[in-house]
Amino acid sequence: MATTTKALQPQPQLPTIALPKARRLPAWLRALLRNPLSVTGAIIVIAFILLALLAPVIAPPKYPEDPYQIPRAGFSAAPKPPSAAHILGTTEGQYDIFYGIVWGTRTAFKVGLIITGLTVLIGGTLGAVSAYVGGWVDEVIQRFVEIVLAFPYLMAAITLQVVLAPRLHDSFLAAMIALTAFSWPGYSRLIRGDVLSVKERDYVLAAKVIGAPAWRILMRHILPNSIYTLLVVASLDIGTYVLAFAALSFLGLGAQPGYADWGQLLSFARNWIPVLSTHWYIVVFPGFAIVLFVLGWNLMGDAFRDALDPKLRGNK
């Protein structure tokens, strides 16, 4: 009884109690922090971000005007095992593996962020327009999405890379465009669903009633309220895109020989398969970098999906 009367009395300190509550982390972030796997993932990703940022300190470039060019220690073909000068050894053509891995981290983030940004832009725009305008526009865009999805992903990307590379005179750029071109459809479907539900809300109707133009309603009222899931899902897909790009580079359809890129570093190993038992370091170190990077994103993503999925949440 005493507590009730106390609660009913005016409480001057109430705002200060409410403040920490408002500053509380969002539910998904709290769920992430509770899960040891996702914390591990986040630590791995943060370590890679630091490695990318500190690349010039950890592996000072030999050619500051073109730091992505891996320095060579001579031109002999056979890889050389780890030594004091090259702590992870050198691969075919005497490219320093350590330097390639460190600067390859920058390449990975560059590729991942650019592809993710572009796919979100394209998928988001098409999906939002499709849902907002509706009618035949929706019909046409959705059929187009289905056709793009009908392509086998990697094969399609290879094809576009092959026809684009000679046009652009840049196989790296061609590979990024090729991956982007076949990655956006999933996102457009994702945002389409969200826009469809947001577009019926009262505040959108209110904006229509006061005569706001369609683009303004879409940009100011609908998108800010529906793009959230897309951004989360897409940012967790960065690992997938880095992997796909590495695969293209590995096949010789992305970064050029000597460019600091993990897939490209690994592609040298294809020439040394019968003697990989002695030259193990040309596979193990770059391979470890890729696996760890993808693992970091996947661990984070896995917990995220669990946290966002209401079906799983309800049963915990």
């Binding site: 059929r143 009908a150 094969m155 094809t159 596979v283 391979g287």
Partner: protein
Amino acid sequence: MTSFIIRRLLVMPVTLLGLSLLIFSMLQLLDPVQRASLYISSPPKTADALQAVIHTYGLDKPVWEQYANWLGNLAKGDLGWSKTGQQPVLSAIGNYFPATLELALWSFIPIITVGVWLGVKAAVNHDRPLDQVTRIFSIVGYAIPTFVFGLLMLMIFYATLQWFPPGRLSDWANRVVYSPGYHTITGMNTIDALLNLRLDIFWDAVLHILMPALTIAYVNWALILRVVRSSMLDVLRAEYTTVARAKGLKESAVINRHARPNAMIPVVTIGGLFFAGLLNGAVISETVFNFHGVGWWATNAATNLDAVSVLGVTLFSGALLILANLVVDILYGFLDPRIRLA
């Protein structure tokens, strides 16, 4: 059910047409000279001869007319001339496809059986150690790229232990296979060897196919396992499962009779699309293991700038994928009445 199938069948040509349109637009990114190489087996000697080729095949005509021509050729099975294969693209695909099909079969069977078995086990032991172990197994499996795993396999089992060599057959076996007394029936070495009653060749082919098959399987177990697990978890929470338990059935009967069959429905979708994906040329594992299938050939063509062959393979793969989608949809309709009535 019939109307459901008809509905699906009607959509297919539209998708196929869209696929061909997209491939054709990619083709337009090539310059006319490269496009001329679509049709001829040897480069023309003079500029006039080149102009003649461009003119004969209508490469200077309006785009829509070119598309109609191209589509007409396609209908006749003419996908162009493969520079790297030194034969028409379609016949090259025909030559390389058996190897891909063989690899697909050899990896598909372990993927599905082991994946389903582990997935069900994990769901039944939800949140217990076995579930955690499979979870870590699948997360790690999902993070290892095919080319890294393949190279590691080669490093351990070929370069170091000399157990499993890359390629499709050893040299001696290749000589036997191409000798007159040996009948090539399916083009799949393991099956042909059995049909020819050559157990030594069969064993050699198995030794060669095991590593690429296992590489594909390992990377994909992760996916199947998780689909089976989550589908099984859903089913185990369903009301009819509770009813089955409430009427006093043994837990094994609940799982085997009531839960597992229903949990298999999404496996059909994933499995079907997955098999189509494998047929599309396990591009990377075929390349890593030097296994001469469609995927290996496509990469080889791609690195040699033989765009025509690559486009041909993509068209073929896309068509295959659309067909697989159709088959899966129909199967799904049979399995799950909710879908066909919707």
